[in-house]
Symmetry: C2
Amino acid sequence: MPTRSAAQRQAEAKVVYDAFVATCPTRQVFATLSDKWVGLTVNALSGGPMRHGELRKKIAGASQKMLTQTLRLLERDGLVTRTVTPTVPLRVDYELTQLGWTLVPVMAAVKKWSETHIQEIMAARDDYEASELRKH
Amino acid sequence: MPTRSAAQRQAEAKVVYDAFVATCPTRQVFATLSDKWVGLTVNALSGGPMRHGELRKKIAGASQKMLTQTLRLLERDGLVTRTVTPTVPLRVDYELTQLGWTLVPVMAAVKKWSETHIQEIMAARDDYEASELRKH
DNA sequence: CGGCATCCCATGCGATACTG
DNA sequence: CAGTATCGCATGGGATGCCG
């Protein structure tokens, strides 16, 4: 006789999340983290709370629309809090939540990797291009 | 009298790469890493060399086109090698390069984070949705 | 089997203009 | 200053069909 019911075993089995599975909810989260604006925003906020305008300056090239959209997404997923101070003009501060902070080292590592290996990558591109030319 | 020429100082200054700068080449690399197919492919290849078809099975939902496109990109950037065995039918193996391996822990961390915090995120979404409803 | 070319639609995202 | 709404273009990416 089993010590757990079939339903219980299934419930436990469901806990085995795997982003390789297309229908797994983690795939969607993985896709979210794989968004450059999300990554840059989390990296930016790792320096402390920031206002909307400050973030736009920090993250060069981010349109106001993309930034708002990204911040809403992060807020919805519980990674960022949005605090409105109803002064005139309006003041809005964004800050990482506890959950958001757990993501910081991960995203920082991605940014760091880009900056550390850029030269190897550019060299590889030159090589690749050169060998492509040789073919034709 | 300076110990380094202006040109030398500038050459050194150029080494200060920062993905926050839109025109910085690292931004482009950061954007590349922020591609879910890139992330999933690197994660998949961390288990060892794989054939095109094997990768497609592993990475559920990846179309043949996207996979080829992603692999070409990784090959061009020196992260993956492509080995063709001219048998019939054709056999093509993909394998991480030494540079590619340095990226594995980073991408594995992203995948791991997704799988570890999915429940907190789903809970946050429920909360968010509930508070949105309360507003209207 | 692995890959390229073509077609084509859905959406991502910037630009602009307006509100609180 | 922060945010929403609208328009319109660019491109991401699937489906299909043909070659090595």
